[in-house]
Symmetry: C4
Subunit: 275 residues, 4 copies
């Protein structure tokens, strides 16, 4: 859907997921620290989130297929491929749907190994990047440029999520992922505004070097904004939880001890001596 | 062997290995969890598998060398290199043969360090990708395109297998490897069908942009199919083992505890305090 | 600021940070080893450093904006982007400012998770590399060449700093980072000397192949110099601390035990047996 | 030194180091396992090795500088850079010399942090690759091709050695490094034979596609040979040590237990429960 809405919709989708994660992960982090009994509650939350993500993806697929000028599930017709763009977008949604499904299964079915959810999510992000990479051929420079930046967010995210297979529940990796999803969301909106100006504003000159330069810089501003959103939500969650607890007369959370007297490496090397 | 069979044969080889792994690794995973006494049985299985893989590779080498238009072990003849394509394929098989051999040795000979088998397997996959990379020169766009996707599976697999040197017996990495091998297998078949249509179907236009676009998307569908195959086999193995155990009156396997109250990093940083 | 000063200023900035780090990290390392009670003192130091870095960055932004031919905070004026070069430099400084701010917060506010400071620093370095990458278009070969080397230092540094999220307080990674910052500092000076010879020396021929070759080699010499600076400062800190302690009658620091009888992997694999 | 000797000399250098390592690391590995008291002896060995490597490098520098047509330490003369090729080779040797020096210091001076030796070695390998990368411009295809393969060995080695900073004394990583050094050694010889045929054999056609194809395959054969050499030497060391011990009436070494019932990840996740 090469128009403003076609970029605003996925943008909003990613933005909502990102905003939600920027609340969920701090919330989980603070509760983990208190070793609270809310484990069960948290798992239910994860399942609901994954279900909603799956639902969103199904809606995305249906929208891409059954918009008036969509392929209506026809792939090959009279020696021509039918609306491959819509099919590619459907494929992207499909992978995010599968990722949501696997997330659900991880919490519902006890024999699914932990980490598979992250692996499938990493692959979903990779496939999005993979399709985008071959997507943006033969277009004007600004169009190529502005889409290619998504690849940084996507492949960076793919590596980071893959790391979570091994370093699961690392709050920093989770917040990094969150910031990249928000970045993707706002950047989709930006693409929409630049390539299909919605309010009758004049078109951008797609070959102007200065426009390319501005857009490059603009991408880093978007990331800064994403970082700020994550930071603000993190603080809000902390304040909210602290206030809740004070009212309930509970203990105050004192989380982080700045200790570094034993580095990881030393621990590994001298491990056999000290134990 | 630039024909349909030349792609169907290695495709089947990888497919069989992938399908077998998608049964073996879940089986191993569930047994590990029960700390069963089947260690010895499992080792014998690994040795048999490695032996079969080595045998396959030897057959592959012999086939490439002694097909009627093969080089028959002649490398240089009258100032010309003889059938370098067949020699390159032989080299790929050779590396997989060596990898199988090292796998066998790891279980048979006690002084081979664990991890060497993974290292050699990673190098075998790397060499396949390396030879493919320089292989696909000066060909029509679709041919280049469709072969180049193999490189994603190969180099991704190489990194993942290399990680297993350090994080050995990680079920998620093993399943990832399995899915990539299945992907490779089905993709070889796909290449065969596209470049050498077997049943008299018309040739694909190798320069049509739409064909390239479809093939790109098709690759991600193949990966999805590979993931589904792994998931189904994983579930079947679980069901089978559960039923077996119920009959035998044994305990039911309750594997995975969704615990995350201690992240890896925290454990590392506070390690010295808590112990 | 495409002149000598415009390269000497950021060069000095990075050089000062690098020199300071080459003193700070050894100092911290030796104190950690002694499990001294100087933890509090060290945290105050970190906060001061981060504050100074933030201050430097603000000065950098203001300088880029309000130099006589700067944009004075105007971004878009009469259908033209205003002084995008200055805006890009401001953006780089901005990210380093945010990194400094997050460093401060990590030590001041207890609920900021450890590692976020490294993540934001890695992103600041990445953004610098990202902007540089698209910066150096359409320039003479030598100009492109000499700037592109910065990318090695920047992306290498980005990966290394990202690793510190997981392997925090690893002295080797810290010294590596330090050496890369010093390299960046001296290289900025080198760029200034080559592209804008300050003392009336003749201009370099920007298309001469020999000049490119020399500059390539020169970059590795700069890194060697950076390594030497780090090594010398490391030794000086050690000597100084040893002398201090001898005077105070304290114990002599005997840090490193060269033990390697248990490799990491063995520890992991046999872990369950030995404990 | 663009002639046969100029490739045979560094080739021999790397080959000797590789062969020595393929004996040293297995030897160390078997002794570690027995927790023998030879720690001291081993350290002395490391120091001697590092000293010899440093010496070799110094000889290399002197050779490059003072061969009859060398630069004799003149870098810039009458507005021309003097013999930059020799200077680049000197720089490579210089970095390997520094790496040897740091290795020595790690064992001689107790306050050098473990891992710095690996870091500097990784950087020495990186610098070699970096200089090679910009080295091989404007040459015939075969020349470029055959040199570019070295980059695989170099950058692969760089990453692997960098990993040793964190996973020190991992025998698999050490053997991998060893095999890459041997590969580099034999490949230098191969380059010499191809580009400067020594025994009056006819020159290779540098533009023949078949030659490129053969050389690509040949590189993977070299790696296979390197793996075989490592494997053979590993076995010889094992046999020798076993025989020595039997004579001395000592116990037989039974090293590796094939245990995998606890994966790394599980250990991390359930760590808090089991302890």
């Amino acid at each position: 859907m090469a128009n403003f809405k076609g970029h605003a919709l996925p943008g909003s989708f990613f933005l909502i997921v990102g905003l939600w994660w920027s609340v969920k992960y701090p919330w989980k982090y603070f509760h983990q620290k208190r070793k609270s009994s809310r484990q069960h509650q948290y798992e239910r939350l994860e399942i609901i989130e994954a279900a909603i993500r799956t639902l969103f993806s199904v809606i995305g697929i249906l929208a891409e297929q059954f918009v008036p000028d969509g392929p209506h599930l026809h792939l090959y017709h009279e020696n021509h491929w039918v609306k491959l763009m819509n099919w590619q977008h459907s494929t992207m949604y499909l992978f995010f749907g599968v990722s949501g499904l696997v997330d659900m299964l991880t919490y519902l079915v006890t024999h699914v190994p932990l980490g598979v959810d992250r692996l499938v999510m990493a692959m979903a992000v990779f496939v999005e990047g993979f399709l985008f990479y071959y997507h943006v051929h033969n277009r004007p420079p600004l169009d190529q440029h502005i889409h290619s930046f998504l690849l940084f967010a996507l492949f960076g995210g793919c590596v980071s999520i893959f790391l979570e297979v091994i370093f699961r529940d690392n709050i920093v990796l989770e917040l990094f992922r969150t910031s990249l999803v928000i970045l993707q969301g706002t950047w989709f909106w930006q693409i929409g505004f630049v390539l299909f100006p919605p309010f009758g504003t004049p078109e951008w000159d797609q070959n102007d070097e200065a426009n390319l330069m501005f857009i490059t810089m603009c991408f880093s501003w978007h990331y800064l904004a994403a970082l700020c959103i994550v930071a603000v939500n993190y603080s809000l969650v902390h304040c909210f939880l602290t206030r809740m607890r004070r009212r309930g007369g509970g203990e105050i959370i004192g989380i982080q001890k700045l200790k570094s007297d034993h580095t990881y490496q030393t621990a590994l090397l001298n491990g056999s001596d000290e134990e």
